[in-house]
């Protein structure tokens, strides 16, 4: 399987040719990001959802997401309950926001784990010879060959259900992407002048990797992280939809959609709320990823 197959699950092919200008300072990046159209829209959308999610962590939602108001079941939007209530009388808006928090929590942890593990494996596989490369690639190929949702299902079934085990299951599915994404640039970076110079001068390997290789990898990795986050949100929602995600009463966007299926013709808002949040989050993260790519790696910008 070639580099091209990294396009699975939202990864983009690695740039051909290695190295590049050293990364710009963070403030400069942020300004450039907001000047870029996709980046700005993406940042705003993602920011809104993330803020709402954080608010829910701080308990700042209009109602407690799990509190049931039996007398107010299945009320429409508008009035006391901004987006209406569900079949148990729970406030849809608060639940949607709490659901966003839950999904983000799983997605962030899953992508963090897979990014760290995957990139480390990818860098090592790219840098060292076949002794390291062969097993890493073998494992990557095996994981790739599994249908992703089924792999996540099987992994999730092995442990007691909790948001953390779901995150691990999703992380395992995404590790191969990061391995691929990290390995490509390392292969070409290895041959560049400044890296070769560092080796010749006698810099220890770990230092070379940390100071010369990693900073050049960061752009690609950051872009991949945002794209993977959006896919992780969708995967977590799919798992919850199949009844195998974060257990209730923790609100999760997928399980809200699952519950709402029954109600969609009599209480459309119970389906619309989680749906809109999912769309906002996924669109936001994708646009953010596009913007970051334009900003961090202008050679690949397509405008």
């Amino acid at each position: 399987m070639t580099e091209a197959s990294t396009t699975v699950l939202g990864a983009e092919p690695a740039p051909l040719g290695g190295g590049g200008p050293p990364p710009r300072r963070a403030r400069g990046i942020l300004r450039a990001l907001l000047a870029n159209r996709s980046g700005a829209v993406g940042a705003v959308l993602t920011g809104v959802v993330v803020l709402a999610a954080l608010a829910s962590y701080a308990g700042l939602t209009p109602f407690d997401p799990v509190a049931q108001h039996a007398a107010d079941r299945l009320q429409g939007p508008g009035g006391t309950y901004w987006l209406g209530t569900d079949q148990f009388g729970r406030d849809t808006f608060s639940r949607a926001v709490a659901g966003a928090a839950g999904s983000l929590q799983v997605a962030v942890v899953a992508v963090a784990i897979s990014a760290v593990v995957g990139s480390a494996a990818g860098v090592l596989a790219g840098w060292f010879g076949s002794a390291v490369r062969a097993p890493v690639l073998a494992v990557t190929n095996i994981l790739f060959a599994f249908p992703p949702l089924l792999l996540a299902l099987a992994l999730a079934s092995m442990f007691t259900r909790s948001w953390f085990t779901i995150a691990i299951a999703i992380a395992v599915v995404y590790v191969p992407i990061f391995v691929r994404v990290a390995r490509g640039p390392v292969l070409s970076l290895r041959e560049t002048e400044f890296v070769r110079a560092a080796v010749v001068v006698g810099m220890p390997t770990w230092r070379v990797l940390l100071r010369e290789v990693l900073p050049n990898l960061l752009p690609v990795l950051i872009v991949q992280v945002t794209l993977s986050l959006s896919w992780a949100v969708l995967t977590e929602a799919s798992l919850s939809f199949l009844g195998l995600g974060t257990p209730p009463p923790a609100a999760s966007l997928g399980s809200m959609v699952l519950d709402a299926r029954v109600l969609v013709t009599i209480a459309w808002w119970t389906m619309a709320a989680p749906g809109v949040v999912i769309v906002l989050l996924v669109v936001g993260l994708n646009l953010l990823g596009d913007g970051l790519r334009d900003v961090l790696d202008p050679r690949r910008a397509v405008r």
């Binding site: 039996a70 079934s157 909790s162 009844g243 009463p249 299926r261 029954v262 109600l263 013709t265």
Partner: protein, 511 residues
């Protein structure tokens, strides 16, 4: 390889594989309307997991096999025991001999007549441990089976067993033809029931044809098709579009939204009960004060309202209509947190307890919501439920190993209270390890109940058992839910049963 060639290869592969796509007569239109009865399409969410009656525990399997295979006795809609293959029976004076007189007109699907040899074979093979039959323990009291003449079977019992005749109604004790094996019956069913097995596409659909020679009278319907629609919401969609005429719905919320238009929903209280099982054999639950504290801290109606949207009835231990427990007959019929705290203070753990509680997810609609509500109610009395939510495989493993302090469970009920609880709450019961409690009092009462064949005399005995179970707060019995049978207009003659059995499909008809 060009793209065109790749596409042609894919197409060729599809053609080749699709060539073997149909199986046994299931192609073409699905609704055959002909003859007086027509075809009734029942929407189900899964296929039966076995076609062997003696191993069937799954709800769907039990229901379908109940239509294919006959039993010695059967239950009517009030769960009273009625004759079926055995047209009459009598006990000897010492209640240690049960003589069953069989009907003469019972035939198997392959045409052969049923005789006492088949009954003897069936009962003996069920008892044989190598068969691993689910109901082997129901025949524990039976020492020998004698086929004295082709129409008579005599059971010699080691000790009286008043619940035996009722348990013979279970499809797990279906009478199979002498010499039948699981392997044979999995491919070709051979029963005495009102229907025979017609075409089948595994995991998709199963058609039962009316058995003209059924001894209870041929069914009005020509055939019944059980169509697998894996998703309950999609079943409702199918009912609403009229492609399916009947379905049994579990989830009260789905049932609520399905009604209206040309769909009626019949609500039937279930025999199975929702309970918080406690393992009284392990500390801290070995202290009756702790258990009573739990009992007093729970408002059962609140559990029903929050977990099942109000669809259920508070219950005591025994749910069968003839022996029903009075839910008020317990130390704390209503919630009393002060009293609960009192009990806890009196116990060996006045500072509160932590209980490892297992909960299944995905098996039935209300499990996790019940657990959450119980947890929040008990927290107010200083009792903490440490919930472990898991999928059904892990839950069963832990339940079977009795690896828990408490378990949120939905257990099946039986029409006879001895069959229902004897195996749990007697010291020799095969489920006693899971139940976690036994006492000399209960052992005596159960033995008495088993030995008393007179109905009127049995009732007070089981009332005593129920009281003892509640006074000792052995488990926390919560509520019984409902079975919702959805039927489109035009379906008539069907009576849902509290056991969920579909046996009255034999009287149903569809326009």
């Amino acid at each position: 390889m060009t793209r065109l060639r790749m596409v042609s290869i894919v197409l060729a592969a599809t053609l080749a594989l699709a060539g073997c796509s149909s199986s046994g007569g299931d192609g073409g239109s699905s609704d055959a309307v002909g003859g007086s009865g027509g075809t009734l399409v029942v929407g189900v969410t899964s296929d039966p997991d076995t076609l062997f009656p003696w191993k069937a525990t799954q709800f769907q399997a039990v229901n379908v096999l109940g239509l294919l295979y006959g039993t010695l006795t059967e239950l009517d809609k009030d769960l009273a025991t009625k004759p079926s293959i055995a047209e009459k029976w009598e006990y000897s004076d010492d209640a240690k001999t049960l003589t069953l007189h069989l009907r003469k007109d019972v035939t198997f699907a392959d045409g052969s007549a049923l005789t006492s040899e088949d009954v003897k074979y069936s009962l003996e093979t069920i008892k044989d441990e190598k068969t691993a039959a689910v109901a082997a323990a129901s025949l524990a009291a039976v020492d020998t089976v004698e086929a004295s003449d082709p129409q008579t079977v005599v059971l010699h019992l080691g000790a009286p067993d008043a619940g035996l005749v009722a348990s013979l109604a279970s499809v797990n004790l279906a009478i199979l033809k002498k010499g039948s094996t699981e392997a044979e019956l999995t491919t070709k069913a051979n029963g005495t029931g009102p229907f025979t097995l017609g075409a089948r596409t595994p995991n998709q659909s199963m058609t039962l044809e009316a058995n003209e020679k059924y001894y209870g009278g041929a069914p009005k319907l020509d055939s019944v098709e059980f169509r697998v629609i894996p998703d309950e919401t999609s079943v409702v969609a199918a009912l609403q579009s009229g492609d399916v005429q009947m379905a049994t719905l579990d989830d009260p919320l789905v049932a609520k939204t399905a009604g209206g238009g040309n769909i009626t929903i019949a609500k039937t209280p279930q025999l199975s009960y929702h309970a918080l099982q406690l393992k009284a054999s392990t500390p801290p639950l070995d202290d009756v004060n702790v258990r009573l504290a739990i009992q007093c801290a729970i408002d059962r109606q609140q559990v029903i309202d929050t977990a099942a949207a109000g669809e259920g009835q508070v219950t005591g231990p025994i749910t069968s209509p003839l022996y029903k427990s009075d839910p008020q007959a317990r130390p704390c019929p209503t919630r009393d947190v002060a009293k609960a705290k009192d009990y806890l203070a009196k116990s060996k753990h006045p500072n509160g307890v932590h209980l490892k509680t297992i909960v299944s997810q995905g098996e039935y609609a209300t499990s996790v919501n019940e657990a959450q509500n119980l947890k929040s109610q008990l927290a107010e009395a200083g009792i903490t439920l440490d919930l472990e939510v898991m999928e059904i495989g892990s839950f069963v493993d832990k339940w079977v190993a009795a690896d828990f302090h408490a378990a949120v469970a939905l257990n099946g009920g039986r029409p006879d209270p001895d069959t229902m609880y004897g195996r749990y709450f007697t010291s020799k019961g095969n489920l006693n390890k899971v139940a976690g409690y036994h006492s000399a009092t209960l052992d005596q009462l159960f033995a008495k109940g088993k030995a008393t064949t007179d109905e009127a005399a049995r009732k007070p005995i089981y009332a005593d058992i129920s009281k003892e179970l509640e006074d000792q707060a052995v488990w926390i019995w919560l509520f019984t839910g409902n079975t919702y049978t959805a039927m489109t207009k035009g379906v008539s003659g069907f009576t849902p049963m509290p056991t969920g059995s579909l046996q009255y499909l034999r009287d149903a008809s569809v326009k």
